[in-house]
Point group: C2
Chain length 468, copies 2
């Protein structure tokens, strides 16, 4: 994956790094939609890829060429499904072939598929200019020094690993990749490889903070970790600080190359009690230098909200690290850029010191383990179940995953259906992280115009935290 | 000057930071050539500016509006010559006025006049894109952390201080400005203000390294210094290291926003004897990330030289941190960009590890105290002296200034003229740093086609090192 971030663009092609947790049907959709010509498949995922390729052919489309990456380090089953193995494939190359630079800096370097509010994933196109600037700016805002040793706990399929495949390289750093992201492997990398920088969703922080004693190894250097999606609570911050790990909180979306704002830290805040530090650090902060515009605006009037820490508005961004648009989806692109700004869908306030603070999401997105889950997509699958009359899926806070989907269902009174059956039904059609962990039966609360009141359901979901 | 680097571009204007060591006639030429509308004059230079303004009017041109910056910290004479004082001028501004952003990133942000091979200074135009990238990349290549404390020993009129007015600010750093660049003030800034970063020509390094004991103050932090123009000898490197100052060697020209290559340091070299370190560090190194192309090429064929450390070629560059061109001088611009590359005029080899190493300059430029001196300009003045029949000016190595001009003169046999008279004559018409420190009388060596052999004179000049 790391090599592909360089090799693929240098052939003049665009890279589409695919989320390995997706189901075969979605992978097949993505490969077809982006017109993939060649697919590199790690043998760990051979079975999934085989199913996805079969689905492409079943629909009468031409399957891409498949190159197997057969990694002997992987201890589980390895299935080779392609026309050629990766190393053999590289041998066929001409080392003297000149790089094929982009003709225009706005040319597409990568496409990243993300779940939006609608069911089908959208292909977010990154241009070379934005990727270059993102690669330079992430180390810059993080104050990451030259020759850092960077651990890959953030997936490279997630917004191209926040452009760090290129950014760490530009810093003359060392990439450390794990075959499996486990607390044991992470702790070993700190001690054995001197890892001093890593990124990841809150789940990774929990893995580190709560690792059993036998998985830990002593190390005596400082480590910096960048996290997004949810702000760490004081207890986790404290646990991380006790282990010599300093947390930087950033915020972004796939559409803005990963993080685009940072809760820039004022050293005087280090003197405050950890609970106050956590409160300050929970803010999404200020824009990256490469992001020309960051505003919290009333989406109706496009007027910025006052910096009073109270007035809500939608986070909007524009500038060099905003996507080109959604691949083959002009309608969604036009909608996303209404009024000349990218609409994040996140509702926030702006504090008097200019820092923004997310208060709610206007879109129906659940962020589980750092990945977007579209509640509409999950609802669409649930509607296929014969016992489901009406359904609404909302986020349920989860200690491990940040959030998990929770389904509220009005079931057909003539049938009996159980929570277990529903979960099994969804799991057969969707990835595990998209499957509801909790199902609640009953009448759905509605507005006078018949619209389901999701805010009411989100409040109701609170009582199920930790009960599943 | 620091404020002007922000305020002037944000009004939509271009900044022209003028070398305060220039003579009034040259300043007058520059102001007229660039069409200056407003001039900010520090009261220390009131007298010089007055003369320059008078010269503009004497030629029938409209003088610019003059704003006096009356700095009470300056202990010498302060002459106010303008229509308004700076602070009063700022009071007339409207704090609510929106910034006037550039309409196009290629718009000019600054003009920097530099001496080329011909006599008249050329106005190098910087665009916003290049200045932004230069501001980001200098801290990047230097590994300068956030919140650095930066000392202004490099003049801001020199390539806009290598874009550090913007770069230090982007890093959340602190600017420390000196009214007078003396070894005492520099040492005090280390101890009293915690300065940890500075840039400057070799002269600054010598000031620091050779400061008398009574001017030094103890400090216990590390300091990094970036230097260009000439590589520091082992003795100076050692003296700096003993004081906790680490030297980074960069190379560039006004036409490429200041430094554009860096002798990137491999930590394993720290184990070598200082003489070897100095030898390695004397190389100009590798390109900045923002510089797309750096090649050592045969200017006739435009073919890169082999990386053998022996074959000479001309350093050529292209990319984002190359100037737009010379202001109102299409001919010079076309010549500088012949073949699609900026011709540096510097002759170098490329080592097997890709580092470039300057061996000679093809242009007739002398670099004194970090500033370009055109030998042609000095020769032009010398030709005005009635006793001078023919003259050639070359660089003479100087311990303090790096290089100083040395004039070889064929004098009219019917007159007697002394070295002292010649020096005094030039000084009356040119800045001190452009005036020859040594004058040698005799016949000039020539090629069969009658061209003065400057290489022979440069070799001959060696015997006068330290004799003036």
């Amino acid at each position: 994956m790391l090599e592909a971030h360089f090799g693929v663009p240098l052939t003049g092609a665009a890279l589409n790094a695919i989320n390995v947790r997706l189901d075969a049907e979605t992978v097949s959709y993505i490969l077809t939609h982006c017109g993939a010509k060649v697919v590199l498949v790690d043998s760990e995922f051979g079975s999934l890829a085989k199913e996805a390729i079969a689905a492409i052919e079943a629909e009468g489309n031409t399957a891409p060429i498949v190159i197997d990456v057969d990694d002997p380090v992987h201890e589980g089953s390895r299935e080779l499904i392609g026309q050629m193995e990766y190393e053999a494939f590289l041998e066929t190359g001409d080392p003297e072939l000149p790089f094929r630079w982009p003709e225009d800096e706005w040319d597409t370097i990568t496409v990243n598929y993300t779940s939006g509010t609608t069911g089908k994933p959208k292909g977010v196109e990154y241009h070379h200019r934005g990727a270059w600037l993102g690669a330079m700016d992430n180390p810059h805002v993080w104050d990451m020094p030259h020759h850092a040793t960077y651990l890959w706990t953030l997936p490279m399929f997630h917004c191209n690993g926040w452009c760090f495949p290129w950014g760490v390289t530009a810093q003359g750093g060392t990439h450390v990749c794990l075959r499996q992201v486990t607390s044991k492997n992470i702790h070993a990398s700190f001690a054995d490889y001197g890892v001093d920088h890593l990124c990841g969703a809150p789940i990774i922080m929990n893995l580190i903070a709560n690792a059993p004693a036998e998985e830990r190894k002593p190390f005596d250097h400082k480590i910096k970790m960048m996290t997004a999606a949810a702000s760490p609570p004081a207890a986790v911050l404290q646990k991380m600080a006790d282990q010599g790990i300093e947390i930087t909180h950033v915020y972004g979306l796939t559409e803005v190359y990963g993080p685009a704002t940072i809760c820039a830290w004022n050293p005087v805040w280090n003197e405050l009690p950890m609970a106050e530090q956590a409160e300050i650090k929970s803010r999404q902060g200020v824009r990256y230098n490469t992001m020309e515009g960051l505003e919290v605006m009333d989406p109706e009037t496009m007027a910025p909200v006052p910096s009073d820490g109270e007035t809500m508005g939608e986070i909007m961004m524009r500038g060099n690290i905003v996507m080109k648009g959604y691949h083959k989806n002009d309608e969604a692109t036009t909608e996303a850029f209404e009024g000349g700004w990218f609409h994040s869908g996140d509702l926030a306030t702006r504090d008097p010191d200019g820092y923004i603070h997310i208060k709610d999401r206007s879109k129906d997105i659940i962020i589980s383990g750092g990945e977007n889950v579209s509640s509409v997509e999950v609802e669409g699958v649930l509607y296929k179940h014969p016992a489901v009359k009406e359904v609404a899926v909302v986020a349920l806070c989860d200690e491990k995953w940040g959030e998990v989907p929770c389904a509220f269902i009005e079931a057909d009174e003539t049938t009996t259906v159980t929570e277990e059956e529903i979960i099994k039904f969804v799991r057969s059609q969707l990835a595990g992280f998209k499957t509801p962990k909790k199902v609640v039966f009953g009448n759905l609360p509605k507005t006078s115009t018949g619209k389901v009141q999701k805010a009411v359901l989100r409040a109701a979901a609170k009582e199920f935290e930790g009960t599943y």
